[in-house]
Symmetry: C2
Subunit: 342 residues, 2 copies
Amino acid sequence: MAEGQTEPRTVRELGEFGLIARISRGIPRASEWVVAGIGDDTAALRLCPGFLLLATCDVQVEGVHFILDRTTPELLGRKALAVNLSDVAAMGGIPRFGLVSLGLPPSTPVAMVDGLYEGLRAEADEFGVTLVGGNISSTRGGIFIDITLLGEVEPDRVLYRSSAKPGDSLIVTGYLGDSAGGLALILDSALAVPLEVAETLLLAHRRPTPRVAAGRAVAATGLAHAMIDLSDGLAGDLGHVAEASGVGGVVWADRLPISPELRALGRLLDRDPLEWALRGGEDYELLVVVPPTAEAAVLDAIAATGLAAAVIGEVRPSEEGLTIALADGRRHPLSAVAFHHF
Amino acid sequence: MAEGQTEPRTVRELGEFGLIARISRGIPRASEWVVAGIGDDTAALRLCPGFLLLATCDVQVEGVHFILDRTTPELLGRKALAVNLSDVAAMGGIPRFGLVSLGLPPSTPVAMVDGLYEGLRAEADEFGVTLVGGNISSTRGGIFIDITLLGEVEPDRVLYRSSAKPGDSLIVTGYLGDSAGGLALILDSALAVPLEVAETLLLAHRRPTPRVAAGRAVAATGLAHAMIDLSDGLAGDLGHVAEASGVGGVVWADRLPISPELRALGRLLDRDPLEWALRGGEDYELLVVVPPTAEAAVLDAIAATGLAAAVIGEVRPSEEGLTIALADGRRHPLSAVAFHHF
């Protein structure tokens, strides 16, 4: 900055093009794969010959997906990209390029945008993604961060939702429900909870880890029938697989991976952690559908990426619907109540 | 619908998944190029072997880019896609796939979303684009429509902003400033203007035609040095080319293509239409930079697509900066004042 100038404090002071220049700093404009990045009418990109292009977009909206003073701009930036990385992971793909569409009220502090991009860049670097474009607009309402993520995958490795078969095993990675537990804490900050419990659950909600390596490992086995990421909650996302594949399924309650921290929160709040695990949403773990003969190989492949995984149920014929089998032998319909936006 | 149910009137009544099902109607899920469309974690897409992937995104925000009661949902849907088509056109590319991220207040009428998608689908069909994904979120503020458009182009045909050379001719398609004239009418609806003038200018603003065919035709000549679409106004966008190419330029005022309707509005409002042509923005015409020897061939190629084009200036060395030469021989700095968001 020239002497005598003061650092702009809001995006209104900085202006659109100043903001674009600022957030483009440190983002490479060209590489072997990025022929043209930020700064032209569109990005111009190369893919691996013969691979399928994967494309997905997901948005974080202030007041809907996040509350500004309950997270940090860095974590928000990371999460906005992570939820998209999770979708590419669920196809068995390699994330490659990101486009960021940002809506900001003019009064947004520049420091907030700096933090957001710090998080975005850190998450992009961690997962080998290059930010190649986007746009910035003012809004009359709150902030939104809409990210389109492009990836690629070998045509004989891609995993859809639609190929689950009766008799297949259901595998999930990691723990279920921690994110919902974290959200419960965020929404009632007066709760008195041991720090180690709170930190684990808040981190699961604020900084989910997309299971890209595990997704690639599953795809590389060539053995799985279907895969989906758990964004709407196990009940909802299993419902998506069941609908797309024309099948039913049973989930064994006592096999669901529930963390000690979530169990502790359940005891404190006198709530069954099973509900969070089934309907919580935003876990961003993977649900993998494999023939029983491939169970061991797929579990090993996931474990080799440093992630735990568990068999939690079985695909059933569609006429059996979706059910949950409790430890005492009772079965209930697994009513697919997912997170609803409206 | 089952008997006895009433048609839902707002997106809150319809719900997220009901809305997704509704807007996905009539959108093909698979084709030779779309291996998986709407309905999986990501779209899975094929490109022409050896082509570059083009990727861009642009958003329309309520209260910033549009005012709901001054346009129709259909036109809004068309324009949200058109502004992205224009970017792919400016690279010389073929538009292929669209992803639509929609932010809607829960009280949004379902009929509004229906209209929006009618426009989106019509524009997509007209330009050979398949809608392959997206997401819907509620907002606490107004509506936003963020679209990512993917296209492709031959690597030896792609046209950037950065290769303009001193001595090159500047060509623009169509008329400049009509969109700004239309916006002036929208913002002051008490203006008394002949209907034929108003209709032409309003249409230019509300329903811009992306110059995809002309962009492809220019690329096919293999003769142009650079291309950009005019979204920020000629002064601003020529500034982008000048900056990216390290050049200056002169625009000849009396060569700027100004429509009879815009001249009529200028007379009515006692304003010089030149200002709209230079700084109005949202014309979505193409600015093409060609060596003088290629002028005739490129003008012919554009004319063959049914579109008028005109030589409006010349690329100059960077030390001359950007100027406008008036009919009386005076030159002024073409201060690159583009449309600023903040």
